[in-house]
């Protein structure tokens, strides 16, 4: 009997306290299949948001034709980056929300602002349970002759701006968007700008692809383009011979 006790005591010594109280694996805080940047810009007569069509599995370009944009209502659109399965869960929640409104048939529909706030509550509630939806979302829309562009992150933080980006787009895209922004931009100019941003992202962000979708919200409603490829140019001096750049870095 004594022997038994001492042997189990030796065993226990081999465990660190962390191993004795092992946390369950929290898959939700380790995203598997992920989408990259989403960028958006307000224009004089609407809003443009865009995302590339890549869903990565780690560093593997796993799904190259995955749509990360969604039409929520006739006046509201959503773009999502981060964990793809969580994004699909968010799409499901929104579809149910919109269907409920549809069945009530009282002419009330969710505005872009209310969708933005709703997603903020959902993501905040989830992060408060230490089980976040691992996404950064862009909500864009055009309702009551007003453009709306807002972001929601995995903590439930919400804010609005004239130009917004998520993921690597914050680092590489936002400066370009801010530089290009004017209050009197047309939708077509806005599309041109987000295309340029995605071209730059494709050059530098290794979790991106040059195949994108662009969604626009105007008084005519929300349209999401078919995926299309961006023209790229690889014979820049800095690309051909990185050492030729003045700081001898690829930056």
């Amino acid at each position: 009997m004594e022997l038994h006790i001492s042997s189990s005591a030796t065993k226990a010594e081999n465990f660190s306290s962390a191993q004795l109280f092992v946390d369950p694996t929290r898959h939700t805080t380790a995203p598997l299949v992920t989408g990259g940047s989403v960028v958006g810009i307000k224009c004089s007569d609407g809003v443009v948001i865009a995302a590339d069509t890549l869903a990565s599995y780690g560093s593997l370009a796993r799904f190259q034709n995955f749509s990360r944009l969604m039409k929520v209502t006739d006046s509201c659109m959503l773009g999502g980056g981060g964990e793809v399965s969580d994004f699909q869960e968010i799409q499901r929640l929104l579809e149910n929300l919109i269907t409920k409104d549809f069945c009530f048939n009282d002419e009330h529909i969710q505005t872009p602002r209310s969708v933005h706030q709703y997603l903020g509550r959902v993501l905040y509630a989830q992060r408060s349970r230490l089980n976040p939806l691992w996404n950064s979302l862009l909500v864009g829309g055009y309702a009551a002759s007003q453009s709306f562009l807002g972001v929601v992150d995995l903590y439930g933080t919400t804010f609005e701006s004239e130009v917004l980006a998520t993921g690597f787009g914050v680092l590489l895209g936002l400066p370009l968007l801010r530089k290009a922004y004017r209050p009197d931009l047309s939708i077509n100019e806005g599309i041109k700008i987000v295309e340029d941003v995605f071209r730059v992202l494709f050059y530098r962000d290794a979790r991106s692809i040059n195949r994108i979708q662009v969604a626009t919200a105007t008084s005519a409603g929300v349209t999401i383009s078919e995926p299309y490829s961006l023209e790229t140019k690889w014979d820049f001096e800095g690309f051909v011979n990185p050492r030729s750049t003045y700081d001898e870095s690829t930056w």
């Binding site: 499901r92 579809e95 149910n96 269907t99 409920k100 549809f102 069945c103 048939n105």
Partner: protein, 250 residues
């Protein structure tokens, strides 16, 4: 009914010696004592129409609706007790949502009808619940299947129809429906036919005034919607006018 008073009609859990469940039959009676409800499945969609009897002159228009949107692709109309019908509509919405959550695709009509029929049926099996006092029609539209129409009665039995009627005057309406060729009929044309049938079933001198309610799914959009009030008003006036002309001709 000779069997009344024999004690076999007090519970839905007891058969009478001649094999009937009276409580369910009474529920069917409740369903057939309300205004006429008609459904037609046309070549390009489904239309459901209800003759909603107005019990008071003070009722606000469009209140106490008997036609319900269930999902983007599904509609429901009630003959019989309104609250019972609303309960079934709520249930149908839940079924559609659950199906969408699991399969990420709209619920097929035959499954929706089967689930609702099952729900109605279990309410005819236990002493502690009352059977539904309504007959409901469910219309759906699917990408591959096209339009389909089902009718569920208080016993929980359900069938798929080209055209069906329930409520007061259903016999006359059924006869009228049998004269129509549903493969040729479009939803737009069906509106007038339905208005004519409801108008014919309604006896203005005897019955209380009524409001006509219509709901449809057309294949051009595949999306359910209430028929706009001005369309209903147009076909109703046209139906009344045709009825008057016929009377003059006689």
């Amino acid at each position: 009914m000779a069997s009344i008073g024999t004690g076999y009609d007090l519970s839905a859990t007891t058969f009478s010696p001649d094999g009937r469940v009276f409580q369910v039959e009474y529920a069917q009676k409740a369903a057939d004592s309300s205004g006429l409800t008609i459904g037609v499945c046309c070549k390009d969609g489904v239309v459901l129409a209800v003759e909603k009897i107005l019990l008071s002159k003070m009722l606000l228009k469009e209140s106490g609706r008997r036609v319900h949107l269930i999902d983007q692709h599904a509609i429901l109309a009630v003959a019989g007790m309104g609250p019972d019908g609303r309960q079934l509509a709520t249930r149908a919405r839940q079924e559609c949502e659950q199906y969408r959550n699991i399969f990420r695709t709209p619920m097929p009509g035959h499954l929706l009808a089967e689930r609702i029929a099952g729900y109605v049926h279990v309410h005819s099996l236990y002493w502690h619940v009352r059977p539904f006092g309504c007959t409901v029609m469910i219309g759906t539209w699917e990408l591959k299947q096209g339009p389909s129409l089902y009718m569920i009665d208080p016993s929980g039995s359900f069938y798929r129809y080209y055209g069906c009627a329930a409520g007061k005057g259903k016999q006359g309406a059924k006869t009228g429906l049998e004269k129509l060729d549903f493969r040729q009929l479009s939803c737009d044309d069906a509106l007038l036919e339905l208005a004519k049938l409801i108008n014919a079933a309604h006896d203005e001198s005897k019955d209380k005034p009524y409001e006509m309610e219509m709901i449809w799914i057309k294949s051009d959009t595949g999306k359910a919607s209430l028929v706009p009030p001005y369309l209903i008003e147009t076909v109703r006036q046209r139906a009344e006018q045709l009825a008057r002309e016929e009377e003059m001709a006689d």
